[in-house]
Symmetry: D2
Subunit: 339 residues, 4 copies
C-alpha cells in the first residue's frame, strides 16, 4: 500500500519539487493537489516540464475532501496562510508536514515579533516537531505535525551541530555567511528578482533582520543546551538553486586541531545517508537536485570555518520534507531521495 | 553651447542607457528627467549605479516646463502613452526622439491592427522620420520628430538592406531568426521574466505575431521599392543584453559568390562608423555596451545567411536615439557613442 | 538478472549522465568503468556529485576484462578513438552502444571527408544500426552495434520526420537554426568555452561546415526516400544544457493548414513515450534532465516552422543511449528514463 | 601633450580593460602594445570588441623600443614574469605601473614563502609604492614604480581602513568573506573555469592559503600601526565581473553605535571621488564597469559588518592603475575613469 500524499499549494517551487520527488518514490503516490486559487489549474499547464509525468488538475482546498483521499499533506503555503489551514487538516485526521515557517519557532511571542503576526494556532504549535532528521530523528518518528526547517537554518544547523554537541565551540557569536539561489525567494515575480536585476549581480540582503536568524539560534541553542548567538548575513546568488553557508566559529579550546574537528563530524554524521563529509571544499553544483548536505571543516588562523552546501529546494525544503515523511511512516529514510 | 536634453520616462532600461550615454556626451547635457509617477524618484535611488554620476530628482511630466529647459526630448514611455505626450512636447516647441513604437509604422490602420489601439496623433505620424541613420540619414537631419526603430528591426534591416538595394535577393519570404536578451522586454517584473524562469532557459515566443514583423516589412519594402515578406521568429536568451539576428535569404541570382555578397556590404557600409563588417562570425559579447552593429555574410547551400549582432539597449534603442540626435543637430554622428 | 553495463570513457559529460541514469535504472547495473588514462581515477573524484552514489574506481580499457564482467558497453570516447576500441569490444563478445560519431555516417568516404580521417572499421560500419528509436525502432531491437545519433541531428530529425514521411515538405533546402548549451562541446577546457567568454555571449559557429549537417541529411534523406538538403546553422547558448532547433520548411502543398500539420505529428508520435507534442512553444528549460523531445509546429507566412527542444546530454546523448539499450534487450523502453 | 602609454601583456583581461579605459582618457594615448608571444597578434583579433576602436598590432617586448615611444608602462604580466621585465623598463627610463603581485609585498622573504619563488628584483622592491590612492595618495605622486594592489585586497583594505585608523577595531582576527567573478582568475582556460563547471556553481577556494591574505595583512597592519590578522575566505561566483567582500570586525568599544561607524567612513572618504558610502547594501551590479567602490556598514549583534563592492577589473585592477597614473602625472585623478 502506498502512502497517499496531498500537496497543498502545488504551484510553488517547493510544490513542483515535491511532485518530482514523489513521482519516483517507491512507496508514495500523489493523491490530491489542492490549490486556493479561484481558477484551478492543471499542474502541467503551470509547469510544462511535468507534461506526461503528472497531468493532475488542482482541486479545492477542502480539508475533508483531502483527508478522504490522503494520509498526509505537505503544506506549501506562505506563512500565516499555513497556520490557517494546518489545524483543519489535522482535525480532518491526516498528518501534516508544513513547509512554511508557521510551526518552526516554538515560542509564539517570538513568532509574532519575527513574522509580525500573532500566532493563531498555539495548540498545534506546542505539538509540532522540528523536522531536521540528522539532529532530531527520534522526535520525528510517528509525528502528526512536522515543521519542516528553513533552507538557510538547515545548512547552518548541520554545519554547527557536531561541534556544539561536543562543547568544541567558544562563547562568541557564530557568524553564518550564506548565499542562496533565487528560487529560495519563491515564484512570485518581484522587481528585485527580475532577470536583468539578478543576472550578473550579487549582494547581501536583510542583514541582521532575516527571519531565519532566530530559527538558527533556536536550533543551535537547543543543541548546545544553552544560548547560542548567530550573526546571519545572507546574500543573493545569480543561480536558480543552491545554498552555501560559510560558518565561522571560535574554538572552545585553542589547542584543537583540524583533525579533531574532522573527527567530530565523522562521529556525528558517519552513518547519515544524506551528509557527505568532504576533504575538498563543497560546491552548490555538487548537491544540485539532490538531498545531500556536503560539509567540510577547516581550522584557519584561530577560527573554525565550516562549509555546508545544500540544494535549497531539496534538502532545504521538499527533499527534507519527504525524508521526514519517510521517518514518520517508518520506511527507508532514503526512499525516493537517492536519484 | 550644449544641447539640453529631457528624458521622458527615465526609470526604464532605455532611460538608464540614455543617461549613461549622455553623461559622456561632449555636446549634450541632461536638463530634465520627467516622470509620470505620483511619487517622483531620485534617479540614483532607482538605479544605484548612477550615484555620484547623476543624482537628479525626477520632475513632473509638464511639457511647458520641459520645453523651458530643454531643446530635445527623448520619450521612453510605453506605446500609446507616448503618442499622448509627444504632440504636447512638439507643440511646446522642442524636438522629440520617440523610442516607443507609436510613430514607426507610417500606416495608422496597420498600427491599429498591430497594436490594438487607434492611432491618436495622425498629424505627427505623417511628419515622423524613421531614425535608422545608415539607411535614411538624409531624412533625419533637422527632423522635428524621429521615430527610433525597434531593436529587432534595426538588426534585420541592417542585415538585409545592402542586398535588397542591389536587387540581390529573390522573391521568397525572408526568414529572420532572432534572439534577444531579457532587457528588451523592459523593467516590469513578469512571471515569464522572473529569474528562475529565464535562467538556463531558451525558447521562441510570439512566433508570427510579434509586432516587430510589420515594422521589418515596412522598412525592407521601402528599401527594395516593392513588397518584402518577412517571417520573424524571436527567441528569448538568458542574458541581459544583446540581439543576434540570423537572416536567411534566397539569392536572386544563383551564380552569386560569397565574395560578391561581401562586396555589397562593403560598398554599402564601408564608411559607416557603427557598422563592422566581419569575416568572423558576430557575437553579442563583442557589441555589448556599444553602438556597433557587427555583420557577417555567408553563402551556404543555396542560401544567403546574414548575421547581425547589436546591443538591444544601445544600437537597438538609446545609442541609436543619440545617434539620431547628433544627426538632427548636425554634430559629429559618433559624439558620445564611441566608448 | 540485471544487464551488466560497462562505460568506456566515463569521465566525459556523457559518461557522467550515463552513470546518473543507470543508477536509477531498475534492470541495469554498472559493472565496469574503463578509462584510457594512465592514472585511473575514482569516478567520484572526477565528479564530486557522485560521492556516495557511485564511488567506483576506473579500470584499464581492456576488452577481455570488460567483456568478462559486462553484457554491453557504452562507448563515450572521441571519434577516431571510438572506432579503435569498438571492434575489440564486439570481438570480445559484448554489445556496443557507441556515442561517438564513428558509426553514424553509413558512407565511409563521406566519413573521411567530414571527419578528416579514414574509417578504419568498415566491417562493423556496415552492421551498425542508427539508434533513433522513434524513427528506426525495429532495426534497433537486438542490434549488436548501435550508433547513437548526434544531439543536433536528433532534434532536427524528430522535427522533420512526420512531415517528410507524409510528403508534406517541398523540394527546397530545409533550414535548421539551432542553439545548444555548452556541455555539448565536451569537458575539455578551451579558450572559446572559458566562462568569461561564453557568459552573456551568443553566437553562431561552424556555419555550413558543422559535422552534424551531413548526418542530418543522411537521416532526412532516408526518411523521405530521396535526397534532402539541410542548411544547418548552430549557435552557442550561455547555458549548460539544452538544444532548441527552429526548423523552417516549405510546404509541398500551399493549401495546407496548421491543423493538418499538427495532425501529422499526432499520427506519427501519438504513442511515443518521449515525444511531447505541444500547443505552446517549447523551452529547453522544460526538457532539462529529461529524455523528452518537446515539439511544436506553426504555419507562418508560407512556411512551416517546427520547434524541437531536447536536453543535449539526455535525449541528445546518454538518455537516448539507454533507450537504445532498453530496446536491444527487449525491456520497457522507458526503464530508467522517466524521472 | 598626451601621456604616452605602453601596455605590456595586453592580451590579458586587465590589458583589455586598460585599452578600454585609455581610449576614453582625455590626457593619455596608447603608444605601444608589447607582447611576449612568438606570433604578435593584432589586438582586435584577440578581442573582437575592439575592432574599429583599437586595431594596433602588438610589438616585441623590447624595453628600449617601448621607452622610445612611451612615458609609462602598465605591466599586465603574470607574477615572476613581471619582475623580469620591470627592471629593464625602469632602466630604459620610463615609469612602471605593475599590475602583477611582484612588488606588492614589501618583504622579499614573505614574497618567496607566498609565491614560491625568490624575489629577483629586491632593489626596485624597496622603491615600489603600493598604489591604493584612497589610503596612500601622497606616496603615489611622482612615483617611478607603482605596485597596483590585488583585487580582493583593494576591497578589504577600503572596507577596514577608516575603522582601523580610528582605533575602532578590537584585537581579534578580521574575517574577510569575499566572492569574485571569474575574470579575476585570468584568461587562460582551466578545467575549473570551463563554462559548465562554473555556471550555476558557487564554492569557496584556497581557504586560508590565498596569496592575497598576506597582502591584506600587510596593508591593514600598516594602516593600524601594529599587526592585524585577517582570515580570508574567497568564493568563486558564476559571473564575469565583480567582487563583494563581507568583512566582520569586533568593535574596540562595545558601546559604539552604527551612526558612529557610518561617520567614521564619512570622515575618511567624504571627498573621495571613487568611494560611494551607501545606506543601502552594495551590489556588484552597481559598480560593474566603473572604478567605484561601494561601501556600507552595519552593526549587528556585537559585530561590525562592512560590505565593499568593486569591479575586479576596474577598481580591482586596470581602473585603479589608471587612477595611479593620473596621480603620478599630477592630472585630475578621475580622468578617463568616470564613464
Amino acid at each position: 500500500m502506498s502512502i497517499r500524499v496531498a500537496i497543498i499549494g502545488p504551484t510553488s517551487y517547493t510544490g513542483l519539487e515535491l511532485i518530482r520527488i514523489l513521482l519516483r518514490h517507491p512507496r508514495a503516490r500523489i493523491s490530491y493537489l489542492a490549490s486556493a486559487r479561484a481558477e484551478l489549474p492543471n499542474i502541467a499547464d503551470e509547469f510544462p516540464q511535468l507534461t506526461g509525468r503528472c497531468d493532475m488538475t488542482c482541486r479545492p482546498l477542502d480539508p475533508a475532501a483531502i483527508a478522504a483521499e490522503s494520509d498526509v499533506a505537505f503544506v506549501c503555503l506562505p506563512h500565516v496562510a499555513a497556520m490557517e489551514h494546518v489545524p483543519r487538516l489535522l482535525e480532518a485526521g491526516i498528518r501534516v508536514i508544513d513547509l512554511s515557517a508557521d510551526y518552526r519557532l516554538t515560542d509564539a511571542e517570538l513568532y509574532q515579533r519575527v513574522y509580525g503576526h500573532a500566532h493563531t494556532d498555539r495548540m498545534h504549535l506546542g505539538q509540532a516537531v522540528y523536522g531536521l532528521p540528522e539532529l532530531f530523528r527520534l522526535h520525528i518518528e510517528d509525528a502528526r505535525l512536522v515543521a519542516n526547517p528553513g533552507c538557510y537554518p538547515t545548512s547552518v544547523a548541520l554545519a554547527c551541530a557536531p561541534l556544539l554537541q561536543r562543547g568544541m565551540v567558544g562563547e562568541g557569536t557564530i557568524i553564518a555567511n550564506s548565499a542562496s539561489g533565487v528560487s529560495g525567494a519563491g515564484r512570485s515575480p518581484k522587481p528585485n528578482l527580475h532577470f536583468p536585476e539578478v543576472n550578473e549581480a550579487y549582494s547581501p540582503y536583510n542583514v541582521g533582520i532575516h527571519r531565519h536568524q532566530p530559527e538558527m539560534e533556536q536550533t543551535l541553542s537547543r543543541i548546545r543546551g544553552r544560548e547560542a548567538s548567530v550573526l546571519f548575513v545572507p546574500h543573493l546568488l545569480p543561480v536558480t538553486r543552491g545554498i552555501l553557508s560559510t560558518v565561522y566559529l571560535e574554538p572552545a579550546d585553542d589547542q584543537i586541531s583540524e583533525e579533531e574537528l574532522f573527527s567530530a563530524f565523522e562521529d556525528a554524521y558517519g552513518d547519515e545517508p544524506f551528509i557527505r563529509l568532504r576533504k575538498r571544499l563543497p560546491d552548490i553544483r555538487d548537491v544540485r537536485d539532490t538531498n545531500f548536505c556536503d560539509l567540510a571543516v577547516r581550522l584557519v588562523k584561530d577560527r573554525i570555518v565550516v562549509f555546508a552546501a545544500i540544494d535549497n529546494l531539496v534538502k532545504g525544503a521538499s527533499g527534507q520534507a519527504v525524508q521526514n515523511m519517510n521517518l514518520v511512516y517508518g520506511i527507508d529514510e532514503t526512499a525516493g531521495l537517492l536519484f
